[in-house]
Amino acid sequence: MTIDRREFLLQTGKLLILTSSAAAALEYVLAGTPEEAPGYTVADHYWAMMIDIEKCIGCGNCARACKEENGVSRQPYYFRTWVERYHVRPEEPELPDVDSPNGGIDGFPEKYRGDDGSKSFFVPKLCNHCAHSPCTQVCPVGATFESPDGVVLVDKKYCLGCRYCVQACPYGCRYIDPDKKVADKCTLCYHRIRKGLTTACCEVCPTGARQIGDLKDPNDPVHEFLRTHKTQVLKPHMATGSKLYYNGLDGSVR
């Protein structure tokens, strides 16, 4: 029941790296001037996210932490990230039952039997941070865009709230902020990753099912993950250039 020495050293090493950069940034965060934190050049980074379905236990920590971190409305209709439960019956593998009660925040009440020949699993979802994102292409005023470091963001000062982008996203990842009446979505915790912190959802994921990765950093574990796993993106035929890579994705997931 103990982890082996090798893995322990690996994990400890990761923590040490995280600690130093996070500590350096934290001064600026606490001083209220986080944008002045040193050591971040947009051209040097290109962010992606990896999700390992085989590790997701559906605890809902990610969805819960995302609302806390980003002040997302507590109503159960607004999520920047959420967890779906898929229940695939053998007779109709292409018509799975999908539910996501309050985005998974309150857990998934027992609903399906485990011994009826069906397959069930959790699928965390969030903005795919597409390299050729349909949502940014339809914005009439340039209020949503792909940043040079690969994050799709919303300029809340500039957004008209016209909802074009909400309609355009093939993954249903955008909503209109019920208070500000402008488009809102996952920022990949842009305010955190620029400081060397990981996203809130990754920080609280207990099984490491979520990892952000910097594709431009040759030492980032993202490369090892992509090399050693068979990864899939959602709706590849839409050619959105999604940078949300799933391992262990079932064909029933849409």
């Binding site: 995280l18 209220g32 236990i57 559906g58 998934f108 485990g114 305010h191 809130a200 609280v204 207990p206």
Partner: protein, 153 residues
């Protein structure tokens, strides 16, 4: 030549109107288009820094361990060693900023434990899961399984 510019008055008027039009267009552009628009692409470059300026709610395990290294050491060798502190204890950037003033509450043991470990057919089979009614006792989880090192040796 003189013939050609006989009725030049309307030409002057036209050039004048065009000039005023261009001036107005330039003025409007300066007023209406933000400075940083186009810096990186068809959007306000400044909005990157604005998004990045959002305050942090989760401090990250690094900040926790800076002070609470004893707890981190207690996790050594446990499966729980890789879990972020705030996964169970909640967002604590405020506590990091003012350690004495804002003290975090202890998490509700059983609820937190079951969030991950209650049996569910959708969970990976290799993940440790319990069915409450089949589990040994009614005692709190942590009476047998210390939260930071839950393995029973």
């Amino acid at each position: 030549m003189k013939e050609l510019f006989k009725d030049k008055e309307h030409l002057v008027r036209m050039v004048g109107l065009f000039g005023i039009g261009f001036l107005l267009f330039g003025l409007m552009k300066i007023i209406l288009v933000p400075n940083s628009f186009g810096l990186y692409g068809h959007y306000r470059g400044d909005s990157l820094a604005e998004v990045a300026a959002q305050p942090v709610a989760y401090a990250g395990r690094g900040a926790c361990i800076d002070c609470h290294s004893d707890i981190d050491e207690a996790r050594t060798g446990s499966k729980h060693a890789v879990i972020g502190c705030e996964a169970c204890h909640g967002p604590l950037a405020a506590h990091v900023a003012e350690p004495e003033k804002l003290k975090p509450k202890l998490p509700d043991g059983e609820k937190i434990c079951l969030r991950c470990h209650l049996a569910n057919p959708a969970r990976p089979v290799s993940f440790p899961q319990i069915t409450l009614k089949d589990h040994s006792t009614d005692d709190p989880c942590t009476s047998c399984h210390p939260a930071h090192h839950p393995e029973i040796s």
